[in-house]
């Protein structure tokens, strides 16, 4: 079982949090902070496994994480999951994001948290891995957005236009924040087909 999936940036700002067990909002924030504290002090070239934090699950659980550019992707899992399998899963997740957002960067995650959630939902459901095939995941995600567009139809057009204008007006939106694309550096792991 996957207990939680967290994405936060190099400063510990949460970009996505998905808990598959219920915690209060305060505890969730504490878990995010604790996890960030544990993960961020580790060097780049050490292993990606951490024996769990105190708050989430204790000794049975492991934190498995990957660090891409400015973001940490952390999965908290119990002993029934394969460590290397989860690492691959994170990779699949990021590659899918990359495909859906076209060169994903932190800003995409910041402004489209709901989209990221929807993609994640096609991959992990209720703490269990639903799909590991990248093309299948992105097909479903595309089908969803197609449905959305067809529903919005003519009524959605003005809103879209306005938001496009809003985006144009804002100087901070694009590249002046120096966030590079998420570079995907994969250590030599043969991943799943």
């Amino acid at each position: 079982m996957i207990k939680a999936i967290l994405i936060f940036n190099n400063h510990g700002k949460p970009r996505l949090s998905k808990f598959y067990e219920h915690y209060t909002e305060d505890t969730e924030q504490q878990i995010i902070r604790e996890t960030f504290h544990l993960v961020s002090k580790r060097d780049e070239n050490v292993c990606n496994f951490l024996e769990g934090g105190l708050l989430i699950g204790g000794s049975e659980n492991k934190l498995i994480y990957r660090h891409y550019a400015t973001l940490y992707f952390v999965f908290c899992v119990d002993s029934s999951e394969s460590e290397l399998g989860i690492l691959d899963l994170i990779q699949v997740f990021v590659e899918t994001l990359d495909k859906c957002f076209e060169n994903v960067c932190e800003l995409d995650l910041i402004f489209h948290m709901d989209k990221v959630h929807n993609i994640l939902a096609e991959m992990v459901m209720g703490g269990m891995v639903l799909e590991t095939n990248m093309s299948e995941i992105s097909t479903q995600a595309e089908a969803h957005s197609k449905m959305e567009k067809s529903e919005a139809g003519i009524a959605g057009a003005p809103a879209r236009a306005v938001s496009a204008v809003k985006n144009m007006n804002l100087p901070e939106m694009p590249k002046n924040i120096n966030i590079g694309d998420i570079s995907i550096k994969v250590p030599n792991l043969s991943s799943f087909k």
């Binding site: 394969s82 399998g85 959630h117 939902a121 959605g156 003005p158």
Partner: protein, 1233 residues
């Protein structure tokens, strides 16, 4: 219309959307909280609007805020509103918000049930998908119960996208509603072979998750998983399956043996590291389960260790970590094969990665030996010095202690070395593990007598330099060590060289800054030291020294008398008075040493931690018995019913020592405090008076920080390193001596063994430096062996520990929607209610008519059996319908029992209330039987066959036992019911056998058991009853009998159950062969439609007789007789229910008269009970009422009277033809006697 929509959206485009919110938050970095609170106000406004789009937008923003840590549960109702939007876009937003913030405590969740159900059955697969995803996050027990059936239907959805989600969510449903596991399991199992790989993977996922917690229930799936493992190419699925096998093998070692080969192949062939790693892991699990150490598996171990070494040597830190992790598993059972890689593991200790170092430490634990312990610990000590102030250092410290103390200090040859290691460890600043070191010191000093002198000297030095340990902060955990030091010095003070000096060290004013419990030990042990000093100076002419000591104590102790700690204060004042008195005596030159020493006389022995628990309760001691009889109730309390007293009082008394009482005490204390606080006359302790005592307390003393730039080295303390050198020298010397001796020996016995000197010395060769006697911990006499591995009672997975092989009972159906709320009844009530005419029927009148028609048809049919050649179709229709004159309820039962998929949408079925009709039957029948008889098992592997045979044999034994039991049961039933009548002297019952010869020839004899195991099976079949017939085959010839095939000619009513795919006339292979003189039992399952008539089935058994010269084909014909009694199940019935049943008037009567019965009445009853499956309801003198029930729910009541060899039986039953047949059979039974 369109214009309106556009207008609405133009209004809304100036609302903030999620992007605007995020942007806003980023622009208000300084006053983020304030900005967000204004945003929340806006959101609240938006939620009040009617436009669903606005609401959805607001909810979307709330989801974001929830992630930032804001509580949004106040909007739960709005979330539900958005969830119920008909547009996918909004629905998804709603479900996402719900999945993020709903939980079991959310009360609006109740409102969602119908909405979710609607979404689940939506024609749009994405609506269904979104609902499933959301539900997986917030499913509650109520939702699980109400929706289980709908989700189960979705498991067979046409779209794989839905199927896989439905399969996956079932796990969550099981967790919340464990009752759903058994009904849903068959379908889940089917999904393992789903054509879509995604669905298959989901099913594997769920079953693995289930099996991990309760593996034994899933052993029967092993062959299926084995097949999947060899056929699947999906690595994800393979990993899951292999992990599952890892959990199963400890339960079934034979499975392990089968696994080794394919796993080894995978290890060699796969390129995916993740798969390789899991294979290695499971092979290790297999090897552990086969720990008998079979020689041919050493190759597998070598392979694993080799592969792991490759992983550990890899530059990828992840692989290195996992390699070490797996290695530690091998270590437990095959330490030798790991030890050869010591170099590699020691190397990992230097790794920069902490996770890897920790893993390597774990491994070291198992790798030490007498020979290398000192060396390894030395290395660790170096690391300790390097790892200043980290948690890793604490970990190192515990590991050093673990390594040294493991298995009763097995590997320590020199305890002086160990003590000095412990002393060195005390120099660590800021460690949390002071108490651990302390307990080690105590343990070693107490249990190793030879070391006490040395230990005491060390501890005295520690005490002398206590300021170094306590120097920095109070919170410093290391000062715990002083507790041990003081105690050791005091307890073993006879070993002290200069007790006076130690005493002085223990009474320094600085001590008062230590924690209370340590001070208390100081004070107490100061007294012990005082006794020793007195003892020493006794007899000396000059009593100056002794008097000085007394004076020292009198001077210093008052400091402790003022302590805020009660324990310290109490001990100090007590000892102070004692010393004062002794001083008086000393001044009179009285010899007191002896008396003072006597205060602390006696040796303390270590007691095992579990000793207290294991003290056996002495014979004749009843802990629950009254010590004094409870006081009789006073008259004034007459109004209270007696029963209340009887129940409550003993509970109250018994809980005297339990927590409850403590709670009660605490409560009373609280009440008393309250009372005192409110009572103006009660003088409260004023806070100011307390301060007087506090004055010299901790807070008021300025703590001087001692800056120690020089490493802490306690002067005069031996370094552990020197022991290492000493030890090496000593070993060298010993070796040399041994060599000399051996040379001598060699000279003496030339030609005899020369292995000893050339190879490395073995463990035993190292002799301990000093003779060490490790005192074992004491245990009480006749301690009871017990293992306390209680499972956590709160574990949700415990509820899922369910036997999945048992056939389903009606009561286990998943609840299906009904139009009216049903009231659940207890089984006892239920039985009664069946006799009462049913309430309003829930079927349409049309259906009713049809049913009547069918009933008439059936009646005709039962009268003229031979005429019933009707159209095939019609017959089938009848099969689907129920039995002719059956009461309507049971028909409903069957409806409910039918699988939910087959019930059409408009059909409304009644669950649970009527359903339990057959539940009583289930516990009687053995759950595993039908499975065993299924011949498909014969296909499976050889070892399985053997196992089954064994099982069968066991079962046979069990069965025999049960019959015995049965027999007793009948008798007991008779006796129990003697209520008002005189108790006759009842003679023992004659033995009754249940087996009768079915057919026999010169080769074989078939014995058939009369009382079949009868049970009702529910499942995917329509309503048929199944009857199991056990037949014993006995080989009477001298030849070997094999290839036995059992076949019967099916009648319309009764059919032999054949495996799927077999034709209606195919025989069943008997799953065993018979060597000469051997008998074995096989069981066959028959499905029976109508049970009102007895049945005879013709059958043949064909077999091959194989003797030395020839083999011939033989056959034996037989007739299987299904009596009506065999359809009856012994069912207990209470007399009031029985009376109601008779009153109801539904039953039709019949009677029977038996003449010339010459047996005691209780024998007669026992016979009826035993042969005809009745139970005695009530017995008065020579009259008894009896009850039984058929597998299809007919009630059969008997009233048996006897007078002068004549027995009259009045019988009532709701099915006359069944009754008639049962009575005929009764008559036959007694005519035989």
């Amino acid at each position: 219309m369109a214009l309106k929509i556009v207008k609405g959206s133009i209004d809304r485009m100036f609302d903030k959307n999620l992007q605007d919110l995020v942007r806003g938050i980023r622009n208000h970095k300084e006053d983020e909280a304030k900005y967000i609170s204004t945003c929340i106000d806006e959101i609240k406004q938006e939620l009040k609007q009617d436009n669903i789009a606005v609401k959805a937008n607001a909810v979307c923003k709330l989801t974001y805020l929830q992630m930032l840590g804001y509580d949004v549960s106040w909007a739960a109702f709005n979330i539900v509103e958005v969830m119920s939007s008909s547009k996918f876009t909004f629905k998804r937003i709603g479900y996402l918000a719900a999945s993020q913030c709903f939980h079991e405590g959310t009360d609006v969740i109740m409102l969602t049930t119908n909405q979710i159900r609607k979404d689940l059955s939506s024609p749009n697969q994405y609506d269904t998908g979104v609902a499933l995803t959301g539900l997986s996050c917030f499913v509650t027990p109520d939702l699980a119960r109400d929706l289980a059936n709908d989700i189960m239907t979705l498991m067979s959805h046409t779209k794989p996208y839905i199927r896989k989600k439905a399969v996956l969510i079932m796990y969550k449903v099981f967790l919340k509603y464990p009752e759903s596991l058994r009904p849903a399991f068959p379908r889940l199992k089917e999904k393992l072979e789903d054509p879509d790989p995604g669905v298959q993977s989901a099913a594997v996922n769920v079953i693995c998750e289930l099996a991990r917690r309760n593996p034994k229930n899933y052993l029967s799936l092993a062959p299926l998983f084995f097949k999947l493992m060899t056929s699947s190419t999906n690595n994800w699925v393979l990993i899951k399956i292999i992990k599952l096998f890892g959990a199963l093998t400890p339960l079934e070692p034979r499975l392990g043996k089968k696994l080794i080969e394919p796993l080894t192949n995978l290890i060699h062939s796969t390129s995916a590291m993740s798969l390789l790693y899991e294979c290695v892991n499971t092979v290790i699990a297999v090897l552990i389960s086969l720990s008998s150490g079979m020689p041919n598996h050493s190759a597998s171990i070598q392979l694993c260790v080799q592969k792991l070494r490759i992983l550990i040597e890899d530059s990828d830190q992840n692989l290195k970590y996992l390699g070490l992790l797996a290695m530690s598993k091998i270590l437990k059972t095959h330490p030798k094969s790991v030890q050869s890689h010591k170099d590699l593991i020691l190397q990992c200790l230097d790794d920069k990665d902490e996770s890897i170092r920790l893993r390597a430490l774990d491994l070291l634990y198992g790798m030490v030996s007498k020979k290398n312990l000192m060396e390894i610990v030395k290395k660790l000590m170096l690391h300790v010095d390097k790892a200043e102030g980290t948690t890793y250092r604490d970990e190192l410290l515990t590991k050093i202690i673990d390594i040294c103390s493991q298995s009763n200090y097995q590997y320590i040859t020199n305890f002086e070395w160990y003590i000095s290691i412990l002393v060195e460890l005390t120099r660590l600043e800021g460690t949390r593990h002071g108490h651990l070191i302390a307990s080690q010191m105590l343990d070693v000093a107490i249990r190793v007598k030879a070391i006490r002198g040395f230990a005491v000297a060390q501890m005295a030095t520690l005490l002398d330099n206590a300021h170094l340990l306590t120097g920095n902060t109070q919170r410093n955990g290391i000062c715990e060590v002083l507790y041990a030091a003081a105690w050791i010095c005091g307890e073993f003070s006879e070993h002290l060289e200069d007790p006076m000096q130690t005493l002085e060290a223990m009474l320094r004013p600085k001590v008062a800054t230590l924690p209370g419990h340590i001070q208390a030990v100081y004070v107490q042990n100061a007294a012990k030291l005082f006794a020793t000093v007195l003892q020493k100076h006794e007899g000396e002419t000059d009593s100056q020294a002794a008097q000085e000591t007394s004076q020292l104590l009198i001077d210093r102790l008052p400091l402790f008398v003022q302590s805020a700690n009660l324990e310290v204060q109490e001990r100090a004042s007590c000892i102070l008075q004692l010393v004062k008195y002794i001083q008086k005596l000393q001044q009179k030159n009285v010899e007191v040493a002896e008396e003072v020493t006597a205060l602390f006389a006696g040796e303390l022995n270590p007691v095992a931690p579990k000793a207290q628990k294991k003290v056996p309760i002495p014979e004749g001691l009843d802990l629950d018995a009254w010590i004094n009889e409870p006081p009789s109730e006073s008259e004034s309390e007459d109004e209270k019913p007696k029963a209340v007293f009887a129940k409550e009082e003993p509970k109250h008394y018994r809980s005297r020592n339990t927590e409850v009482d403590e709670k009660e005490l605490a409560r009373r204390r609280e009440v008393r405090k309250q009372e005192q606080a409110n009572n103006p006359f009660y003088i409260k302790a004023s806070p100011s008076s307390q301060k007087v005592y506090d004055a010299p307390g901790v807070e008021h003393i300025p703590v001087v920080q001692i800056d120690l730039s020089v490493p802490l080295k306690v002067p005069g303390m031996p370094m552990s390193d020197q022991y290492l050198k000493l030890e090496e020298e000593r070993q060298q010397k010993e070796k040399a001596e041994r060599k000399k001796k051996e040379k001598k020996k060699k000279r003496e016995k030339r030609g005899k063994g020369r292995k000893a000197d050339s190879g490395p010395e073995s463990e035993e060769d190292i002799t301990p430096a000093q003779h060490v006697d490790i005192v074992t911990e004491e245990m009480p006499e006749n301690a009871l062996p017990s293992d306390d591995d209680d499972k956590d009672p709160n574990d949700p997975h415990r509820a899922l520990d369910i036997d999945l092989d048992k056939p389903l009972a009606d009561s286990e159906k998943l609840p299906v929607r009904t139009h009216r709320p049903e009231v659940l009844k207890s089984p006892a009530e239920d039985r009664v209610s069946e006799s009462v005419p049913p309430e309003t029927k829930k079927k349409s009148s049309k259906e009713k008519k049809e049913k009547k028609k069918d009933k008439e048809k059936d009646r005709k049919r039962s009268k003229e059996e031979k005429k019933k050649k009707k159209k095939h179709k019609e017959v089938e229709e009848e099969l689907l319908e129920s039995q002719p004159e059956e009461p309507v309820q049971s028909e409903e039962t069957k409806e409910a029992a039918a699988p939910p998929t087959s019930t059409s949408a408009e059909e409304v079925t009644v669950p649970s209330s009527a359903v339990e009709t057959s539940s009583a039957a289930v516990p009687e029948s053995e759950p595993d039987e039908p499975k065993d008889t299924e011949p498909e098992d014969t296909k499976s592997s050889k070892h399985k066959k053997k196992k089954q045979k064994k099982e069968k044999e066991e079962k046979e034994k069990k069965k025999k036992k049960r019959h015995h039991h049965h027999h007793h049961h009948g008798e007991a039933g008779g006796e129990d019911s003697v209520q008002n009548g005189t108790v006759e002297e009842e003679e023992p019952l004659p033995p009754m056998s249940n087996y009768s010869v079915l057919a026999e020839n010169s080769f074989i004899k078939m014995m058939r058991e009369d009382a079949e195991q009868v049970y009702d099976i529910q499942g995917n079949h329509q309503d048929e009853s199944k009857v199991v017939v056990s037949i014993i085959f006995e080989n009477k010839s001298d030849s070997f009998l094999k290839s036995m095939e059992f076949n019967v000619l099916d009648s319309l009513n009764s059919k032999l159950q054949r495996p799927e795919g077999a034709g209606p006339h195919d025989g069943l292979t008997v799953p065993f062969q018979l060597p000469p003189g051997v008998s074995n039992e096989a069981r066959f399952v028959f499905s029976v439609q109508s049970i009102v008539m007895p049945q005879k089935l013709k059958g043949t058994l064909t077999f091959i007789v194989k003797s030395d010269e020839s083999s011939t084909h033989e056959k034996l014909d037989f007739k299987l007789h299904f009596t009506c009694t065999s359809y009856l199940i012994t069912t207990p019935c209470y007399s009031d229910a029985y009376a109601k049943l008779l009153e109801s008037g539904d039953l039709k009567g019949s009677s029977l008269r038996l003449e010339g019965i010459n047996m005691p009445f209780h024998h007669l009853l026992a016979r009826i009970c035993f042969h005809h499956h009745f139970s005695v309801v009530e017995r008065i003198d020579s009259c008894a009422s009896m009850y039984s029930r058929s597998i299809q729910g007919h009630h059969v009541c008997l009233l048996v009277k006897t007078s002068d060899q004549t027995v009259s039986i009045d019988a009532k039953c709701d099915e006359p033809s069944l009754l008639g047949n049962v009575l005929d059979e009764l008559k036959q039974t007694f005519s035989k006697c």
